[in-house]
Symmetry: D2
Subunit: 241 residues, 4 copies
Amino acid sequence: MIRVLVWNEFVHEKTEDAVLAVYPEGIHQAIAGFLSENEDFEVRTATLDDVECGLTEEVLAETDVIIWWGHMAHNRVPDEVAERVYNAVLSGMGFIGLHSAHHSKPFRRLMGTGADLGWREDGDWERLWVINHNHPIMAGITERYIELAHEETYAEPFTIPNPDEVLMIGSYEGSEVFRSAVTFHRDNGRIFYFQPGHETFPTFYHKQIQRIITNAVRFVAPVCERKTLGCPHIRKIEKVT
Amino acid sequence: MIRVLVWNEFVHEKTEDAVLAVYPEGIHQAIAGFLSENEDFEVRTATLDDVECGLTEEVLAETDVIIWWGHMAHNRVPDEVAERVYNAVLSGMGFIGLHSAHHSKPFRRLMGTGADLGWREDGDWERLWVINHNHPIMAGITERYIELAHEETYAEPFTIPNPDEVLMIGSYEGSEVFRSAVTFHRDNGRIFYFQPGHETFPTFYHKQIQRIITNAVRFVAPVCERKTLGCPHIRKIEKVT
Amino acid sequence: MIRVLVWNEFVHEKTEDAVLAVYPEGIHQAIAGFLSENEDFEVRTATLDDVECGLTEEVLAETDVIIWWGHMAHNRVPDEVAERVYNAVLSGMGFIGLHSAHHSKPFRRLMGTGADLGWREDGDWERLWVINHNHPIMAGITERYIELAHEETYAEPFTIPNPDEVLMIGSYEGSEVFRSAVTFHRDNGRIFYFQPGHETFPTFYHKQIQRIITNAVRFVAPVCERKTLGCPHIRKIEKVT
Amino acid sequence: MIRVLVWNEFVHEKTEDAVLAVYPEGIHQAIAGFLSENEDFEVRTATLDDVECGLTEEVLAETDVIIWWGHMAHNRVPDEVAERVYNAVLSGMGFIGLHSAHHSKPFRRLMGTGADLGWREDGDWERLWVINHNHPIMAGITERYIELAHEETYAEPFTIPNPDEVLMIGSYEGSEVFRSAVTFHRDNGRIFYFQPGHETFPTFYHKQIQRIITNAVRFVAPVCERKTLGCPHIRKIEKVT
């Protein structure tokens, strides 16, 4: 059983009718909805409105994979909560950053970069081209590209460290390109960042987008016991078997 | 002094007027022309018409960096010549593959993959987006992207191993994307592949394209003595200093 | 069900008593033995003695993962057979190279390098240090290192391309180091190379070595349909959804 | 002219006779000493004793490459100073972390990991094995390994992200291994981490260690203008050339 926590700042949905119309119960519920169809997933949600953002040590200790959506309220996540999430990832909790989560405190912390990019909101179409079809996160994606009728445009340079693997590159109506589906690991934590998911578009209802996020949950789930290495003082090994 | 050998199959230019019009002395002479403006480069050329393709052991031993352009005549390069080039790269000769050289015998051999891609010739514009401005090959490229009015379209998946670094990603009028400027190393040899350079377009007269190729020559030039490692039988180190 | 083919040149075992004593039925049978305990694996074996080395197109088409052990008889594998294996990997068949398979024809072909290294046979102990415990191939390996009382010493530089990931680094009694557990991908094929497994030592009876090879089978098994991309002539996408 | 700033916490040298004996003027002066022999370097130093650790915005703006040595006083570098250094690296200032700088605030911040490792101080010898001789940082290192009679032992797992390139792997008397010479980049900043350099040993007087650090200065020096990308709101490109 993989214990998934879908975290959403949950602000746009309560303040903008255009967003409410697309995600009436919040982006987190839309994501939790399709993930819950997997019998091996146990899915919960949390938002900014919860005490400590719903991200206490206890919650994180019981989370195998966190999915993060945030945009306009990154700074309302307290530093100590962001640091707690960061440390949980280092100890082995998987992290999936969606769309504007590129600028969330935990993701930037994990990258060690600004995680900056160029952006514009002109409702362009996006095509997400598959770079490597034979990766577990791409399982079931047989097409050359996935097309989204409307997405926010994100443009390179995307200032991330070299990813472990680039799985998809997106292009937009205006010709911009973006490394849209990328993997990393940090200490024991496995990470997936996925670019689509603007709040005003029904991206999270797209079957192949759902499939990729579902695959990614399995990919970033920890395979070893959660543990922070620390800097142990070791002893010289004296004898060979 | 960096000794550069520009190799061109030199077939299109002699059989198609459209190509001859753009490169009247051959693509190799166009490339050798702008490279020769660098005082630290000593530039020669060779083509399919030369004995052994102009790629004898002696020539390769005196070459620091080879630049390869080929397209319709990949198979007219004898296997033993391609293997000779491959072995020279492993020993430390730098290799720059341009455009359709992705399917040349030496490049595929060095990749260990098909080096396949999708392609079409509709004369699309291409925009080459810079991913990492602070790399020696990108020195002097300050713009976000380089625009070419017409290029052949190359589309992902481009079946190469994970590059050491992806420096540019191209997009085309038809929305395709392509990892256009990528580095690799193989044994002692440093490698750069660069996508632009279709024979019917004046790509090699573009100042920024010239700058990138010039930078790449310096980047792939060997820094250590040319040497094939082989598989030496070593002896146990008995004593510490 | 993962269809595994264990290929062994099967020469040492028939010519050297010291090897026969350790692997009386051949290294391939020792490996097939522990793999067969997995209910989701269907395990077969093949050797140099079989017609076409047991590696016909039909056999390869029905193989999800090939495990390769070879040492003194690399050159008795015909080029066309090696090329067939190479092409099967590019189409998606997983490849696990063990020990001296670093110099096998298929592995060198897939690397695009000499895959050279320094070596000596002094019966040193080896310690295989884990670099990343949270990788599927390391599942169940909780110790800091695995110790083998005797192994052949392999020394860097190991002339491979940058691996997708380095999972273990070995050190030996004589202080040499070696990237011992490394992953790659080539087109659709996933690859794992694992250094231990000299013919005169009981390495393949070691439980943790068995565990790593077992994990690796699952890791390199294809997740997409087997397919060679080729270089398709594509058409411009005219319309957006 | 490359403007180098050698930063040292400069604590051990003033409190421990054993360190003072080796580096009577401080580790920073020893490093500045050999670097100053390069006519293209302009070398300054700074320590914890300076106002704001000698790391004001003005100083950092005039620094092309910072070299960092710290060990027992990491926490005496104020967070805002560490963040300033971090931001300077993102904008393009090169960073060389030496030895226990793995746990310095700027380095951990740039890694996005704990940068943890195992350690012991038994005065073991260390051998630094070269992985890739044909890299600019290894220029002039022709031997298979560099031997240091005494060093502090650092052991994997070293919890860093996958490096851009691993140039050396160290092994110790007790068999531990460590990725000792590794490169990264973060936004516009190029980074080199190098493991040797314990305060009680004369490591920084070793000619080949000096050569590697000197080469690294040239490698991490910026090639583009210093600039923080930020997250620009871009406009749709309307017309092709």
